[in-house]
């Protein structure tokens, strides 16, 4: 009888230990083993979780029939190969974001997961974050009306990565949030960015995503800002939302503000400005990563499609790839279709 789902966490450098910690909190899960090439990292986990097996050999994990699922916290370039091997070994897979280095790889994993009837989920944590879920409810209720724009700033000082540029590192969060919140279809992308410090990767960038219904999304990401900002404006025909993730308690503001044409007299243009009340709604404060781990496990148990499934991850990677192409052509608009 399978009482608990056994999970193996692959890669316990920066992000992996967070997965170990959160999976350990769940009743119906056992963190069965962890795998890393670095034995020091394995020993650190062992110290806090004496009951967890450790190994430097990924094959050992794949061959162990006790392991039902693997969570991959590895450099992006390794995602495809490790995920593919895991799926073929009949393991369910959770992959750290971004899902893969290319959309082709992502599409291939989606196909394999379908063939193997395994759950494939991407670690887009914000989809499981109380404030973001609350904003989704607000948008889905229709109270904002038609969405005009999405504008995000995700900037701070460091940590500069050298395996991917700042768009793959930071804007991937925004692109997955956009995928969740915006029902329109993205049709083109343009991106500009620069590298000043010598990392060879863009350290600050601006990207624009155009949607089929007129909506425009702009994302500003930077590792070179003196202050940390995590804020998103969403402007609608009827109301507007501001999300300030740095604020300790008042993260969302709904502005009952808009500007409209006076329909009674279209010529000359005579806009009407409305400025009503502002509301700061409540939201669930549960840790997003814990909610995500729970969701992964429930999808396995109930054989359900995850909120951030492989297709979602593939759509995000597709936009990231288009950004890289636009960056090379100095901001040229790249079609997504």
């Amino acid at each position: 009888m399978e009482d608990k789902i056994n999970i193996a966490v692959i890669g316990v450098g920066y992000w992996g230990p967070n997965l170990v910690r959160n999976f350990s909190k769940l009743d119906n899960v056992k963190v069965y083993s962890v795998c890393d090439v670095n034995e020091d990292r394995l020993n650190l986990v062992k110290k806090d979780y004496p009951g967890v097996k450790t190994t430097t050999d990924f094959s050992e994990v794949l061959n162990d029939p006790e392991v039902s699922a693997v969570a991959l916290a590895l450099p992006v370039r390794l995602h495809y190969d490790f995920a593919k091997r895991a799926l073929l070994a009949k393991k369910h897979v959770l992959i750290e974001k971004p899902m893969t280095s290319s959309a082709i790889e992502a599409g291939d994993l989606v196909k394999i997961a379908r063939e193997q009837s395994r759950i494939l989920m991407v670690d887009h944590t914000f989809a499981y974050y109380g404030p973001v879920k609350r904003i989704k409810e607000i948008i889905d209720s229709g109270e904002l009306g038609k969405i005009y724009y999405f504008d995000s700033q995700r900037i701070n000082l460091g940590l500069i990565r050298t395996d991917v540029n700042v768009i793959w590192d930071l804007a991937s969060h925004d692109i997955s949030i956009m995928d969740l919140l915006i029902k329109d279809n993205p049709v083109s992308v343009s991106a500009t960015g620069t590298s000043h410090i010598g990392s060879k990767k863009e350290e600050l960038a601006h990207l624009m995503v155009n949607y089929d219904n007129g909506l425009v999304a702009h994302v500003h990401v930077s590792w070179l800002s003196p202050v940390k900002l995590r804020q998103i404006f969403i402007g609608g025909e009827e109301k507007m939302v501001y999300f300030d993730d740095i604020h300790p308690s008042e993260k969302i503001k709904i502005y009952d503000k808009n500007v409209k044409m006076d329909p009674s007299k279209e010529t000359p243009f005579d806009p009407i400005y409305r400025s009503g009340e502002i509301r700061i709604p409540t939201y669930n404060m549960k840790e997003a990563l814990l909610a995500e781990c729970e969701h992964f496990v429930n999808c396995i148990i109930n054989n359900e499609k995850p909120l951030t499934d492989g297709e979602n991850g593939e759509r995000v990677v597709k936009i990231l790839e288009a950004c890289d192409r636009s960056l090379k052509e100095k901001g040229k608009e790249i079609s997504l279709t």
Copy 2:
């Protein structure tokens, strides 16, 4: 004996009365007359300033030998014609920003002013604003090191104009500030924007200006934001500056923060982050428009080149024109050379 310089203010709708009010405060200036096609507007001025002549006929102003200078507060499309006539009538000219509808017109005015030996100045008010002048001193002192980026947000709800788009209306401020602060040369521009409300002009836009030394400037302007932001980040190799014009008293912050490569070991990339003290410097609180009016008058008296002379206005219009071209080509990079 000419005790006082007689000035005529042309156009007393929204901005003109501010010019009347500020020129009236100066000892060596007399607001001699105001001119507008709308007699109601003239009467409003007359009520507050009984000694000022009023007229609906611009020729009358030009033909009056008592008038030494005119200040034009008119729709942009009229700037060129009115300024040209005034210069040819040997009047000194102050033009509201943006200077003209095209760079060719601007260049023509510069040439005429030179031929007529008259002062030609553009009303780029921020150049005379205490906090901006303070930031210029900081940059000129070299303490920021090489400038990496300039990033501005100038957004709020309304007032939507129909004669020009949001870039000509709002970003013209940033472009003139950039002209003042940045010593490098702009080489290309790209801009994207959209119109949602039906004004036919872009109501929100993002523009990028690339400089010859690697510096990138990004400006976000919008008439559709729920909140009013007026903020600029300037990131340098050594320090960074934040300018928040909404703050009532602490408008400038100098961050002693940066990230650099460790020169001793270039491989692998190993950045060093420094996070020192923040300083909030003092600055002159004098009203910018008053300082500007004083400067105009002093340039006339001393026959000196204004800080925001015609060439400065022309450079700004050149970038604005390039933005319009890029907007039409969906963000394509437009060369400025």
Copy 3:
């Protein structure tokens, strides 16, 4: 036929010119004359308002039958004498706050005004201020429940006065706001304060007002603070209000927060915390002083009791007097009954 009410403004130093400016905006009022011992001040007014009579002789104003009302903007110690003479000369009277130097004087003016059937109004401007009126509506609606506390901070650097201490200067605003908002009766006062700079008057102080229903009000006033704060917390059984008068646009927050005993189990004490939505309501943005001037004139025309009548002014002075007594006895509780 009395087309317009003729008003004389007595004292045109710091505050008087504001009265001149605002009364001048009203259609049914004429600023008929201004009176001051300082001729330079009179000339400054004359320059901006050539049609206004000027005089250094208060008797002249009192004897002029054209003058219906006087507005007194004088040092506090002169309020009683000037107001009394004006009332006896059958003029309506508006007195700058605080109304008088003592409650006895205030009571005497109330009596004289009644006998002379003249309007007597005190310049407690906050009673006519949009945000304060909005907070009054919120409290009157009952949504806060029983009020537990009122807590105000009114602190900044300067301007240090030498005629009155910081309580008479700044806390008089809070005491008049409390008089407007709180329906309970104040029963005792205690105040502590100190003088550090050498003005001989308290430059910072804390005062507590106890009400008959358990409500406590605390007011912190200071001329020695590095930052300017103008904020009031009002805590109720059901909801709480925060008023931040420094914020340019979001001055009021209504917190749907409280803590209550669980009524089902009184022992042991087991409080229930509720933390719901926050609302930022709209409010009228009209200048308070203009609304106040209008109100004074309407009360004259319609022979109605002003919102901030003499009795209101007397209640405020009574508390200020009690504060002075408590200050002398190092914070001893002084009964108001």
Copy 4:
């Protein structure tokens, strides 16, 4: 050979586990055992720290010669008895704040610790907190000049305690910070407070401490505030400091602001206001409790007087006791000498 100091943590309810966690991080310490009457609490600790002994019997801890020191995280009323027994059993003692229920008890513990030559330290965590230590350096440098006032707000919603009132719970932090920062001697105290919810203990309070050199300290504490504030203003003759402990990164501001009498002309009073630069200094970000645990251990090893020794704890309790007396007499000033 004693490699590591063995510590026992007594009481593992709310605060005790934090002590276990931090002592466990130190190399020269072993959390040897934990003691609590509640076996569930003991098991929770056991789960995370399998190597730690657990017991419900305090005597067992006292009789174990392996235990060098005890850390007491118990209700205040038990502090005296447990600490006394531990000292008499020759254990070093760390007591959670406030030290005891009365100054007499505190004095007695100080005496016993001296007789037994044991370290007695009170858990006044803020003394080990980077920002507070930085403010101490600023004050000690003399750059603020003579200190005029100390003004603290420590307010939020909950957690309401029933064993002590809000002054003993929250203001004890401020009083220990004042003990650390202010070199003058406190001479009297007055306090007012109210209970609205039915906890029988004051839930909001204001207290004033007067010092022998004219300095006044005011502390506002509340469990009934809609927002969480943790801020202290310290005003000096030369400069002023603001400490905002809620701000994630800019906790300290030094204002180069003051107001002084013009020494050249004392009559009339003519103050000079100075408003210079503001500085936001850096500070150590290390967790305060870890620094405190380290300090306790170092004091044991080197037989040194702790920064927050028993005398410090006794001085704080003396002021807390005086507050209770003043509360009962409705704010009457209570002498400390």
